[in-house]
Symmetry: C2
Subunit: 316 residues, 2 copies
């Protein structure tokens, strides 16, 4: 099966029927549900994980409960918001029996408590197909607007949290049955500490959750902001040693990192890095924002061609 | 594959991790997200439709776009709330190609406009399995609390909107390839006009969306309210002529009606029926609420045993 042309179909068929202000042109991972006093948007995101695509049948059920929550919480945090409530839908195949469901709920319950998210509803249905997990998570913004992907300004520094490429390497390891920190990250993503929401809300002009690869997400920010995102590949905190630029490109086009890509004024860089560090978040400058609308990749000052395969698409 | 013991698993594993007030013990089809001024809850519901279970591959794609919206809107309306925003997730198999997706969005867009719901976000992923549609819809309550299933009072009249059993007959007709008004209702459910939310909010003590069969939903209201729901089978507005009580039981245990079951003080019955009629909604009294906690079924005064198969479970 070919990968879904997700961005294509969204632009062509969903944007025309999603014209309200709260939809934000479907150009963010969240939509706005309401305004809570004092002028703080209540936002929501929705992510789906499919057996055989985003996780595997042999994964411990606890990890599925954690992963479906974390991929959604990550979207909320990266918009400068505090996660709040969740609704969960599970399409249950025969093989996902009661002991597995109990373990799934154990993992989910653990992480709901950890991230202070309240489960308030959902649906359970049976399916003749693979296990499908869908969750909606809401969040309260910490400022009058979500930190959207469209706010990058010329002269901004570009930063990422954590490391990049753990998801790519983890998928590889998980498929090969290798237990590794990367495989564990693939199953239960390390997402930024909750303080990232405050840091983004206080300092960032734009932000995005890195779920489809660093390079694809940088392009999303550039396009939405109508700016050129310029990345210096040798400054990226890669999750493992890279022997070559091709290696870096591989890690930069893998999915499932769930770190944040942000842009912020150079003048705020030091304080943002310091604030992040005191919350245990490693923030690294990897580039800057310029006029234009193309992604610019460089390695030690030399231009690197942008790969044709722009990001990880969860196809089969 | 056996049916999912949905209510069992919800009670045993999800209720213990859904302890916030907004979850309302997971005993309603909605959860509470926030309080909007002046003291009106913002609620949300989430429903999933699976190919081969809730719809069939041969169904026109437009009908899928309408059905996924309507089954969710129906939950919001039945809680006395006005539908507001939607998030949509689609797990796309190979066979659901671009022309089908376009037609799906056409049907969805039509019904979003009809029900005044704004699409604000969601997710598209690919799947090796059946097409799975999941939607979250939010709603603004018209009074300080949702009209929950737990509010039935001794002496209340029990009413339903529309007719009962169209979903059961429609599934039968759809499976047999018979085109009929019932098959059309199975594909694109007739749900109550939006005015039902005002009527419920103004008059009802308890209400529930009839998605799993009249008899099962009556039991849900009785259990949540700790009251006996007493139904007179001959007064139910069955969707087709019933030759026998067994026939009635069949229609009363089918799914996919998407009408409302409500209880309200006898003193408000006439005005509720009149208000409903002026909105084009047929409201029919089918029983009353008594002390106790058992469902009581009667036909022309004679007790009818409650069937062992209590409601329609969307198994395979």
């Amino acid at each position: 099966m070919g990968p879904v042309s997700e961005f294509d179909w969204i632009s062509k068929y969903l944007k025309p029927i999603a014209t309200s202000e709260g939809a934000m042109s479907l150009e963010n991972d969240v939509g706005i549900l309401a305004s809570l006093p004092p002028d703080r948007p209540l936002i929501a995101t929705m992510d789906t994980l499919v057996e055989g695509v985003h996780f595997f049948r042999g994964d411990p059920p606890e990890t599925l409960g954690k992963k479906i929550l974390r991929v959604n919480v990550s979207d909320i945090l990266c918009n400068g918001a505090v996660p709040k409530d969740a609704l969960l839908s599970v399409a249950l195949p025969d093989w996902f029996d009661e002991p597995r469901f109990e373990r799934f709920c154990g993992g989910l319950g653990h992480d709901l408590a950890q991230w202070n998210v309240k489960l308030v509803g959902g649906d359970l249905v049976s399916t003749p197909g693979p296990l499908v997990l869908t969750m909606t998570v809401t969040g309260s913004c910490l400022s009058p607007n979500p930190v959207a992907r469209s706010g990058a300004m010329v002269g901004d520094a570009v930063c990422v949290s954590g490391t990049i490429g753990a998801g790519y390497q983890g998928l590889d390891d998980a498929k090969a049955g290798r237990d590794s920190p990367f495989a564990r990250h693939f199953r239960v993503p390390d997402i930024p500490a909750p303080e990232i929401a405050e840091i983004l809300s206080a300092h960032a002009n734009a932000a995005i959750d890195i779920s489809d690869g660093l390079i694809a997400e940088a392009i999303h920010v550039g396009r939405a902001s109508r700016k050129a995102i310029c990345l210096d590949m040798e400054t990226v905190p890669w999750a493992r040693n890279c022997a070559s630029v091709a290696d870096m490109i591989e890690l930069g086009t893998g999915g499932d990192d769930y770190q944040v890509l942000m842009t912020l004024p150079e003048s705020k860089l030091d304080i943002a890095i310091k604030d992040a560090a005191s919350a245990g978040i490693r923030l690294t400058r990897i580039g800057h924002v310029a006029a234009g609308d193309e992604l610019q990749l460089k390695h030690r000052g030399k231009i690197v061609p942008v790969p044709a395969k722009l990001g990880f698409v969860h196809g089969n």
